[in-house]
Amino acid sequence: MDLTSQLLQKHKKRILEIWMQNQLADVMLRDDLMTNDELRRQSEELLEALARAVTSGNLDNIYSSDYEQITEILSDISITRARQGFSPRETGMFVLSLKQAINAVYEQELSDKPAELYREISTINKLLDNLSIITFETYIKGREEVILRQTDEINEISTPVIRVWEGILALPIIGTLDSARTQIVMENLLQEIVNTGSSIAILDISGVPAVDSLVAQHLIKTVSATRLMGAECIISGIRAEIAQTIVHLGIDLSNIKTKASLAHALQLAFSMRNVEVRKINRTPMSGLGR
């Protein structure tokens, strides 16, 4: 058993006390998010695991099996903390304050042997720095998982297909049309054409901030696919500035029906289906008379 693990085993209790004192004295202590007993339990568990891991004599490679348990505990702690709303600093300080505690104990124990003190402190610092990197990695991973889930959710909800009338579908597109979005839009639209037996689809691009040649190409592809299914496609929501840009870019949309607003597109769709929307003059007798 080398000196590092001897010291750690022998002074485990004292290290834990100092560590807990440090953590509780920290102005950033989040006793609103975690009780002090819970914090003590976590700290004790981690220190136990660390003391066990260093008995293997391996002090460099934290990716070996000796450290499996400790990385697991650390990952667990940081992921839960990320979800509980701890800041990165608060999560990182957990391991870093252990370093201070260990250093303080070593300093007392080895005060008369400066060479050994230096060696021990630098070994343990290196080890704990590596462990705190794990904390950060998993903390960020926890956050990223949240972002990825949200991205998926946005993709799902951002491409609704609305049945506005018998045989007429509307598809408001909001945000940038990249290849992945176009794929989802096209799939949803074609499926809905089959499901509802619709013959007209209105693609509304009012919510698309910029139409460059890639977006235009995706739109043209969607229109072609709709036509292959025997349905007609109208593109609406072409704003004045977008119209000018499309002309300058040289994109040919002349064989696609386009309209400035969804209302106009709907009107065109009605006339294509021989439906007429009219105002009627109600006579006082017909119910709602006031």
């Binding site: 910029a210 139409v211 460059d212 004045a240 500035e241 000018q244 840009t245 300058h248 870019l249 040289g250």
Partner: protein
């Protein structure tokens, strides 16, 4: 010509396109560009940045606000270290594409902005510089 502000953005993934476009919009709004000219500039920038991602796996963009004889404008310089373009003249023609796209990116961009300059050689990457003035002239 005086450079008033200068900023650089790295474009490495498709996710960088939207923040980049927003940055361009900020600059255009800052100098008081009209909506039509804003849209032209943003669309041109979007074309070039997509080219950069598609053919050169990304690169960097230098964003500047410039001023020349009491007229302000936005200058964007797209620098990549991709394979370069063998025949620039051919690439500037409508409908020419090596990547199965519409082939309107480069010639269309040139029509959208006031000044356009491209330098490229095989193996030496591509640099495209565009300027759009506040009033679009």
């Amino acid at each position: 010509m005086i450079v008033l502000t200068k900023d650089t953005m790295q474009i490495l993934r498709e996710q960088d396109v939207v923040p980049f476009r927003n940055r361009v919009r900020e600059l255009a709004v800052k100098i008081g560009m009209s909506l039509v000219n804003q849209t032209k500039l943003i669309t041109a920038a979007s074309e070039l940045v997509r080219n950069m991602l598609r053919y050169a796996n990304g690169g960097k963009v230098i964003l500047e606000i410039i001023s020349k004889s009491a007229q302000s404008g936005v200058r964007l310089t797209f620098v990549d270290e991709g394979p370069g373009i063998a025949d620039v003249k051919q690439a500037m023609q409508d409908g020419f594409s090596t990547g199965r796209s519409l082939g309107l990116g480069l010639p269309g961009t040139k029509r959208l902005v006031n000044e356009f300059d491209i330098k490229s050689a095989p193996g030496q990457g591509t640099t495209v510089m565009i300027i759009h003035w506040k009033n679009g002239r």
